[in-house]
């Protein structure tokens, strides 16, 4: 970062399984307008628009940002389209933030979305390719065997995943935008749900959602001015990083990928954090399947190897009394507009340090992590935001 960069406005849609009331353009505009209103700006104030979403086949539109240029007020401006698999919402935010932090633009609108109901993501993820056996059944079919390996290696009790599933859905009850609101959620309900990809129950998996997320990122001078105009604080970026590794190679650690560890190390070094569990107030981490909470607790350095499940088990990651609440918004397990899911993590971390998260606010949160991952957990993007300007 050459210059300071802040989040001065955020917006998201109400995430649902089908948003039949809006077109794709209507969906992204809903989030973009909300973010601009929060920032106290108008489309005409924006210098550039950065759009992110997961594979185009999810909606059946090739490069949909081209058709969305008008709806996003991008006509006559630079418009950019990022696609880094499931991590895309996070990397889109980082690409947008680089435009500000590296001194190219002062006000950048970034938007990510998925309208899963317009096509069939499960089909798009498992398109039968010639010459290969048609075995993969969506993302769950890929991740469930890895989860089994983790349970075996760590010696975690079988119900830790279910505890995550319950905790994140309890959090979601405090977030009006969340897709899943399950007031009666408890371990029994999770256990009695269908075993979709043994060892993963239906309720240990993320839903399919329509939804969009948007943020306005700005330079320091604009952020300070808008804080005065709107009376709402900015969230300052203290560090951001991306890392990738190959999908498969001999000796790859699938449970604890090196790219995730390196990315966390980089982003924490930038933010001056040495003990994430102690120095961060909360984290929004991409957990699409329950067991990825304990796995990422280890990967991101919140816990030692094979100890992540103990944090979950003890309630440390709960908004209700935990010392390091994870996914206070309900997380990906409660809302999953795939392309936007990563940006929602980044956005929610900004809301927390702005103290604007409403019922799911962590009291006095000053520093938070936003995290996204994608592909066969080989793409990572992360940022740390704070309520104070970075040094």
């Amino acid at each position: 970062m050459n210059q300071r960069c802040a989040v001065i406005g955020v917006g998201q849609t109400h995430h649902k399984s089908k948003r039949e009331d809006v077109s794709i353009a209507g969906l992204v505009r809903e989030a973009a307008v909300a973010a601009l209103e929060d920032a106290g700006l108008d489309f005409s104030d924006i210098d550039a628009v950065v759009v992110g979403k997961a594979p185009d086949m999810f909606e059946g539109i090739m490069m949909p940002e081209l058709y969305l240029a008008g709806a996003l007020g991008a006509v006559g401006k630079p418009m950019f389209r990022v696609h880094t698999a499931g991590s895309v919402g996070g990397s889109t935010a980082i690409v947008a933030a680089h435009l500000v932090a590296n001194g190219i633009h002062k006000r950048v609108l970034t938007v990510a979305f998925e309208k899963q109901s317009d096509s069939d993501a499960m089909w798009a993820l498992s398109v039968p390719q010639p010459f290969s056996a048609p075995l993969l059944a969506g993302a769950g079919g890929y991740f469930a065997p890895i989860i089994r390996s983790y349970i075996n290696k760590s010696g975690a009790p079988n119900n830790v995943g279910m505890k995550v599933a319950v905790k994140d859905r309890l959090h979601a009850l405090k977030n009006p935008y969340a897709h899943l609101h399950l007031p009666d959620i408890d371990l029994k309900m999770v256990e009695e749900s269908v075993m979709l990809w043994d060892p993963l129950h239906y309720l240990e998996s993320c839903p399919s959602s329509d939804g969009a997320a948007a943020m306005v990122l700005s330079s320091e001078d604009v952020a300070v001015a808008q804080e005065k105009t709107t009376g709402r604080p900015a969230a300052w970026i203290h560090g951001m990083a991306m890392r990738s590794e190959p999908t498969m190679f001999a000796g790859r650690n699938l449970m604890n990928p090196q790219a995730g560890r390196d990315c966390a190390k980089d982003v924490f070094a930038q933010a001056g954090i040495t003990k994430p569990r102690q120095e961060l107030d909360c984290a929004e981490v991409y957990v699409p399947f329950s067991w990825y909470e304990p796995m990422w607790l280890e990967n991101l350095g919140f816990a030692e190897e094979n100890e992540g499940w103990k944090l979950t088990d003890s309630g440390a990651t709960s908004l209700d009394g935990g010392d390091i609440p994870w996914n206070c918004s309900g997380g990906v397990l409660s809302s999953n507009p795939i392309g936007a899911s990563g940006m929602l993590r980044f956005l929610e971390s900004a809301l927390q340090v702005r103290n604007m998260a409403g019922d799911h606010q962590v009291p006095d949160a000053h520093k938070a992590l936003g995290h996204a991952y994608g592909g066969g957990s080989q793409f990572f993007s992360m940022w740390v935001v704070g309520s104070d300007k970075p040094e």
Partner: protein, 168 residues
């Protein structure tokens, strides 16, 4: 294309069936593996730098970014490193649920691939299960992984997880 419209309400759905046909390119390295399937055997490739054996090979070592050229013929026997039981129906599925997909580590290979396990009750499958490939009848063999009907237990004792931990 079908659009439903009422005098009062807005149009909320417009269906546009999309059909696109593709000629898939297997490439040189993958073609070798595919021809192997047509002969009822597994052919992998060794990385000249790290000496690891990839099967099927896509033509490069993803870690060292060098072309893999040395061919390695691998046996039918393998170990299930990990697995899941698929119980979810989805569009385009061709196998009856529930079924077991497993990460298969062929003996002598350094990378796993996804395979179907049969001939054992799902609740009896464990990590480390020893299996062997069952090929379709000779006249049905073709240049596709579908030539492997499934993997079935060999009856040998399971391998200790610690002996293949680096493949998890």
């Amino acid at each position: 294309m079908a659009a439903e419209e009422t005098a009062q309400g807005p149009v909320t759905m417009l269906s546009t069936p999309i059909r696109l046909d593709y000629n898939f390119t297997a490439g040189v390295a993958q073609s070798k593996s595919l021809r192997g399937y047509a002969e009822g055997r597994f052919i992998g490739q060794r990385c000249p730098v790290c000496k690891k054996v990839y099967v099927p090979s896509r033509g490069s070592c993803p870690k060292d970014a060098v072309a893999t050229t040395e061919e390695v013929v691998l046996p039918n026997t393998a170990t299930v490193t990990t697995f899941c039981v698929v119980n979810v129906p989805f569009a385009g599925q061709s196998i009856e649920i529930p079924y077991i997909t497993a990460s298969i580590l062929l003996d002598g290979a350094d990378i796993t691939f996804m395979g179907l396990i049969q001939g054992i009750a799902p609740e009896d499958v464990e990590m480390g299960l020893r299996v062997e490939a069952v090929w379709v009848p000779k006249e049905e063999l073709g240049p596709t992984l579908a030539s492997v009907k499934y993997f079935q237990p060999t009856g040998e004792p399971n391998r200790e997880v610690s002996t293949f931990a680096e493949h998890l």
